[in-house]
């Protein structure tokens, strides 16, 4: 297979050897008075959760780095093995609490793949729409906190203003602001409320102006440029070797987006651009996310235009709950309702691996079913977990002051790292 030419950000590879995720203090510096070991975290505002990094400093230069994770481990995968497929959906959004809709989506898509159930077009379009709103939401949280950490406090308030509008939209559709659990196997839990369309359009009209505002504050801000440009370099080849995906590889000059290249949901039918930047630094990762927010707004608009009429969930009584009103008149429906809620539906034996482009990159879900009502094994391929592995490569020879910018730019969510 022909190897595509990728931009060179630096010569060779900077992945530490032999341990790719760790900067080991050189032998001659061990025990030296020059070296100061700093324990960063686990509870520090800029760790976006609970991350501990043990940093060896020589003056201001980082010479050793070790990440300690696991503080937020809650055993989602183990717990989901005990729940019926139907109940396990509730766990999925909590894995990554910033991009909950995408996590829910990947799990539901995987179960549907095993079941071979067909989803009505309205549900597919609505899932696309919500996944994109959620992407904007996630990037707003990134932008707000990453800028806050570098001293641009007002950015946080601007971003959370729009984030709140998105949460209001989620609340309108699903009844809850976060961890919505709106996707059912086979479609959506409820129909889309009438008032959603005008409110979402209002948001789409406002959002590009808000993004212009963010760019006015940051994109030509001398301090922001100084602190982000040329910092935390990651070359294209290193990014691929380290399994990176999403905005991190797009900022390293790789034109890669699962929404376009794998084409799930309604993405093949909507028109959007994939932003790619060539420098592989913190600034480019910021630019990719800013551009993605604009593209996501475009996709949301197109979804609203294309939203078809019709059912929002498949009509398969062995998997999908019967409509509420039927329970009072139909014995058959009552039995199905009772069976699905108590025993759960059965999923054919097999294994699948489904991926979506979450705001943080390639989010995968590997499922094994033994044909029973509970999953045999659930595994989330968490993009944050993989992104954190690249910290050591991005940090080689960095200054302590750049450290927070670099960790922030990889946009990790610790809930997803530790699962």
């Amino acid at each position: 297979m022909a190897v595509t030419e990728r931009p060179r950000i630096y010569e060779g590879s900077r992945i530490p050897s032999p341990i790719p995720s760790m900067l080991v203090l050189p032998e001659e510096l061990r025990g030296s008075d020059e070296i100061l070991q700093v324990n960063f975290g686990p509870n520090h505002p800029s760790t976006h959760g609970v991350l501990r990094l043990v940093v060896d400093l020589s003056g201001e230069r980082v010479v050793g780095l070790r990440a300690v994770i696991g503080y937020l481990h809650t055993g989602f995968e183990k717990n989901m093995e005990q729940k019926t497929w139907w109940k396990a959906i509730t766990y999925a959004p909590r894995v990554d609490y910033v991009s909950f809709q995408n996590n829910e989506l990947v799990f539901v898509l995987a179960v549907e793949k095993l079941l071979g159930i067909e989803v009505p077009p309205k549900a597919t379009w609505m899932r696309t729409l919500l996944a994109e709103l959620n992407r904007i939401h996630s990037h707003l949280v990134f932008l707000g906190t990453a800028a806050l950490e570098l001293g641009a406090i007002s950015m946080f308030w601007y971003c959370f203003r729009e984030r709140d509008q998105i949460l209001d939209l989620f609340e309108m559709v699903t009844g809850s602001r976060m961890h919505t659990r709106y996707y059912q196997v086979g479609g959506l839990a409820e129909d889309i409320p009438k008032g959603f369309d005008p409110e979402a359009r209002k948001f789409c009209e406002w959002m590009p102006k808000a993004i212009d505002e963010y760019e006015t504050i940051l994109s030509r801000n001398e301090i922001w440029l100084e602190r982000t440009q040329g910092i935390g370099l990651l070359s294209a080849d290193d990014a691929i070797a380290l399994g990176q995906s999403g905005p991190v590889v797009r900022a390293s000059g790789i034109d890669w987006d699962l929404r376009r290249d794998e084409g799930y949901l309604s993405y093949p039918e909507v028109d959007f651009d994939v932003p790619v930047y060539p420098n592989g630094d913190v600034y480019d990762r910021y630019k990719v996310r800013i551009d993605e927010m604009r593209q996501s707004t475009r996709i949301v608009e197109q979804c609203l235009d294309a939203m078809p009429e019709g059912p929002w969930i498949a009509d398969d009584r062995k998997v999908v709950l019967p409509p509420r009103h039927e329970l009072h008149t139909s014995m058959e429906s009552l039995i199905h309702h009772f069976k699905i809620v108590t025993e759960g539906f059965r999923v054919p034996e097999g294994e699948v691996y489904v991926t979506v482009e979450s705001p943080r990159g390639e989010l995968g879900c590997y499922l094994v079913s033994d044909g029973g009502p509970r999953p045999w094994r659930v595994k989330f391929r968490a993009p944050s977990f993989v992104a954190l592995e690249a910290t050591a490569t991005c940090m080689s020879d960095a200054l302590i002051a750049d450290f927070i910018a670099i960790v922030g730019s990889l946009d990790t969510v610790m809930g997803e790292v530790d699962r």
């Binding site: 341990i19 793949k113 070797a241 399994g243 691996y353 590997y366 033994d370 045999w376 530790d418 699962r419």
Partner: protein, 179 residues
């Protein structure tokens, strides 16, 4: 080596001894340059009655299905008799080629408990944490990994939580009649 197609996905079942050879071939010749994920699956009790790994220990009871467990007692008539598996643990390597169309392949190896597996860290550096995670939660030993330590659980944790014989909750209770 055996090739299987199911659910539009390709699975290559490889002999553990030739895993590295297969992986090198897939990366260099077939262009699968990105290792997406490594997942180990414990098939202890697969297709048996009273499957361990539900609530309680293997010998204990399943609080979600009191009484007799297993397929035959469920009333909808879906007998559950899945295909037997060749060994206790399966380790799946999900590979991706970063080219349009996103071709994927799953490399699968089967091992019994305590049999070490060669580490693919030389081929894909990203395997570092994936292998440590599977070592930590499933107890799979990866030979040639330079830093194979627990990553999610504490260093002094006992047992491997994602194994099917690891209880989900509670302490084993000794009743006065038991000896």
């Amino acid at each position: 080596m055996e090739r299987r197609e199911a659910y539009d996905e390709t699975t290559l079942v490889v002999d553990p001894a030739r895993l590295l050879e297969a992986c090198r071939f897939l990366r260099d010749e077939e262009g699968f340059d990105l290792l997406s994920d490594i997942t180990a699956v414990d098939y202890l009790g697969w297709g048996e009655k009273g499957v361990a790994g539900y609530f309680g220990t293997a010998a204990g009871r399943d609080l979600n299905a009191p009484g007799e467990q297993g397929a035959s007692v469920h009333s909808q008539g879906f007998g559950r008799s899945p295909e037997p598996k060749p060994a206790r643990f399966a380790i799946n390597y999900h590979l991706l080629a970063v080219v349009p169309g996103a071709p994927r392949v799953r490399v699968q190896i089967w091992v019994e408990e305590s049999r070490p597996v060669p580490s693919v860290i030389e081929i894909w550096p990203t395997a570092d944490w994936h292998e440590r995670e599977q070592f930590d939660l499933m107890g799979i030993t990866f030979e040639g990994h330079p830093h194979l330590r627990r990553i999610i659980m504490e260093d002094d944790w006992e047992g491997h939580p994602l194994r099917k014989d690891y209880p989900l909750g509670g302490e084993p209770v000794r009743f006065s009649g038991d000896e």
